[in-house]
Symmetry: D2
Subunit: 320 residues, 4 copies
């Protein structure tokens, strides 16, 4: 098997740490450089490398970069690296609207667009779950127009990054739970809208996105209230989902069982369940999606994309 040299940019954040962990088992990707501005010179746990500064990575020796730098910095670095001839998966939000020609990489939705590409924008954790949950319903024409899909989401704290901020101290988060960036104020809202529009092949359905902060390290659960076209049963929704994801290694369609974080944490899986809603006039469906924000929501999907870019088997190194 071909071996490719990898650089992980921003390797001491939670996403970077997860990438380093996944890459250790990859048959064709060899991490050669891991960057950290603060820990440059320190050893990289579990490897024989030492962290270097991002500016000191010799791009000529690198085949593919995973860029996990802060939003705002990552895109510029990725664009430059790509122009220097290196393949890039950018995990920030900087290129997700297609900047610099980046492809938006959710393999289960747009696999053939990713295959063989050289610059991929890795999706956000919340959008990944939302788009994978709603795509089968939208494509099957089951979602009623004119009414918003309510998306009530909850995420573990690693989604907020590893920078020291008082609001993410253990003493603040433990035993607490709260909404934040409510009312469509979250920075993932445009990405969700664009993704839904692309799925719909036109105008996206209206939606309201309310993220909450869970006192857990990892995992996202998204409870979505989906208005259905008249006459649609929950069974039809389950069937559309099962049918679209047949053979997908990372999608678990649970039918009328609802997923929990436990079903997906530490894996690259997205678990999707559905439930009917009683007592309302207009038909409504609950669609609940769970994923690990650091794996399928970040590092795992990034490797999945890299595998498609480089011609590896899509699951190489990722495990179940």
């Amino acid at each position: 098997m071909n071996k490719y040299s990898v650089a992980v940019l921003g390797a001491t954040g939670y996403t970077g740490l997860e990438l380093v962990r996944i890459l250790r088992d990859h048959p064709g990707l060899v991490m050669r450089f891991a960057t950290s501005e603060a820990e440059a010179g320190q050893p990289v746990r579990g490897t024989s490398l030492r962290y270097v500064k991002a500016a000191d990575v010799p791009l000529a020796e690198v085949d593919i970069v995973f860029a996990c730098l802060p939003h705002g910095e990552s895109g510029a670095y990725s664009t430059a690296a790509h122009e220097a001839g290196v393949k890039v998966v950018d995990l920030s939000s900087d290129l997700r609207a297609g900047q610099a020609g980046a492809e938006y990489g959710i393999p289960e939705l747009w696999r053939e667009c990713v295959r063989g590409k050289t610059l991929v924008a890795n999706p956000g954790c919340y959008p990944t779950g939302i788009l994978l949950g709603l795509a089968p319903l939208i494509r099957a024409g089951l979602v009623a127009g004119g009414k918003p899909v309510m998306i009530d989401a909850a995420s573990g704290v690693t989604g907020a990054g590893r920078t020291a901020k008082r609001e993410y101290l253990f003493g603040e988060i433990a035993e607490d739970y709260r909404a934040y960036a409510a009312g469509n104020a979250h920075r993932h809202v445009p990405e969700i809208g664009a993704g839904l529009g692309r799925i719909a092949g036109g105008e996206a359905p209206e939606f309201v996105f309310t993220p909450h902060l869970l006192p857990v390290r990892r995992g996202i659960l998204e409870t979505m209230y989906v208005p259905l076209v008249a006459g649609t049963s929950v069974g039809a929704a389950v069937e559309a989902t099962r049918s679209m994801y047949t053979g997908e290694p990372y999608i678990e369609v649970m039918g009328e069982t609802l997923p929990s974080l436990r079903d997906v944490v530490n894996t690259n899986r997205v678990a999707i369940g559905h439930a009917p809603v009683a007592g309302v006039k207009d038909p409504l469906l609950l669609c609940v999606v769970a994923l690990d924000n650091l794996v399928k929501g970040a590092a795992g999907q990034a490797v999945q994309n890299a595998n498609l870019m480089l011609g590896f088997e899509e699951t190489a190194g990722i495990g179940r």
Copy 2:
């Protein structure tokens, strides 16, 4: 001040333990009996009492009973005790539909109905928050008809009681999060509907209630998506809420700041916040409510009701 003799039925459950804690500081209520079928004969921590079996409480020596027995048993006991001439606050769901003439006790909504009564059904934890959050909006005529209010709720695990069940083991709950009894299947749904109908003075607005289980011990957060009548601003919703609850010791109207569990845990307070929703055609309001399921959602409100029944100051013994 008059002193009344109290019996706490089911004193080793989480609600019972909280009642015992609150009663220790009450100036007019003296706990004389605390029951436990399993721990009968054992000392009651922090008191000089020993647990007795429920059947062994001499009702003739009791002025008021707090019944925290399991749903299904509690109502029968309460009804019998009430017929024997004892005042009763029943904390189960058995009498909340008005069985045996029980009054439904949310003081901030129906204070005068509770005052001086002798049999009160203490509300459920989820309904308490929902009704207190929506009442000002419904009474002010701000809620648009014909569309459901989505109620996405999350509760700490003590809400599920203290009976040993595998699904509530630490090993199952920690690091997890999941929906349960979704799609209006939760046993609080009829209670919510009846309460909303009473507030509306007729037909209740449609609603969808989805509870989730949080990996915390205490606290409920309810994120409600409220369709507004055209032309209604968030400011109007805040104003209606603030105006209705002026002077209420246990309601904290936070305006456009959203509450978190931290704001209310270990207190009898309900905190209410509002947020606008951008990017949707029909006006929509986020109304987020937080309370402690064991205090305002159970034992604290029970004492608040008892205070009204017995003529004490409403806040006696409860603290802030």
Copy 3:
């Protein structure tokens, strides 16, 4: 009752927040000033005050200061305030060795030394539990010389303060547990040694102190392995402890039951239990102590000391 004007210095740290909470219920202490360098001008939750900077507190209007500034700053401020004629409880470690004439305030051990004093150094959280646990055994002559007492301690994270540091992020602390400052390297070691020496009336017994960081917000548990003089039974240790603490409102002697955090969190209590050790040649006792690091380990004991300084009942405002 006399009313005294209080300033809380450093009111937005965890200790400061706890003081503000306790003072709200105090019958004779009125918080007039609460300081925060970062939040100056912002409202103090649950009060009508706004934070001011420490330098802007008009000491002439203050009767007593609780100084919770960072170690290194607090002592200088406290000394200056005391010289300006204000009574001071300093909660940092700066004055605990008696600097500036400060009295070391553990009421249950040295109550009469604190009564009426004007400058008191409030003890550290770990030393408070250790000294209260070992004092009865040392005073009764039960501790064998020549062998160290092993003190294995575990604390909730709020003990590390509220400053934003990566190592105290939720993502770092949750699901983790580790020793730190092991091998008598913790800054509380001299304070423990001095306290033990004072109790022993001479040379302190040797000890080894190993703190650990628990993934909980509050609470300290200290498991101490105490070498006993030959012929000493556990019963004698329990009896010495019970006898010394008879009538103490905040000491719970549990006998041969071992305490847990749950027994003390959110209270000013110290719970002490003992257990025999089988299978060792030289007699050994387990002495386990639990307390809330923010209450008896900080803010609660500070108010207890203030009550003694000002002539209030020692329990005023503190609750059980």
Copy 4:
């Protein structure tokens, strides 16, 4: 590679679940049967099997059994299966004293005794860490006689099993911490003593074992206070440890850095760190050991033993 048919007895406990997870990736072990008395007939998540009752496993179709039945039941089943010609790893404590000729399986200590055996008793989680931490020190003659080693241990709750008991409910464990079975009363004490004696080749050093219950799901940390022979430095202890474990895939000798749960959870690794102790007359060493109670403390080590029994590479299927 040879393929062997596996039965997992007691597959719905925490240890059984972990075994099922590990076996899914094993190149030579194929799980053919998974038992559960309560869930017989239900599907085994992530496989095409259904649970059967233990009595219904056709032993003639099985090459190797992993028995994770409750203590007391497991040994009898294992002995019978072994007599029927099946290879067995018993994960209970029933056979750890060598009953029925079972070999006690810690590969890093007694690898050659396990290799090719047909009946192996898998060690307890606490003893595994203690024996691996102390063995290098004992073998190198660094441990002083006549004084006990104090072993202060803390374990995540999954160590207590998955049976529904009130004391292990989330509402009881969260935010709490406590010692249990203190003073050498824990059922692992004889196993620890026997293991230490075998390492010492004679009389075991005295020890005191105090387990505590951590509010985490997984992981054990053992803080050991080891009396050293005069003139022994910490460096010598580190060196003895490093030297003994050179090349061991699952032992991480951290030198004078102390391990935390984070270093080992979800892996088969044991991390060992040392620290000097200042301020005591007789030389003392801190030896801190961390491992995952469900992996190296149970299922991971069981597969390691099975690999030795069957002639696979020792790390097959276990990962790092």
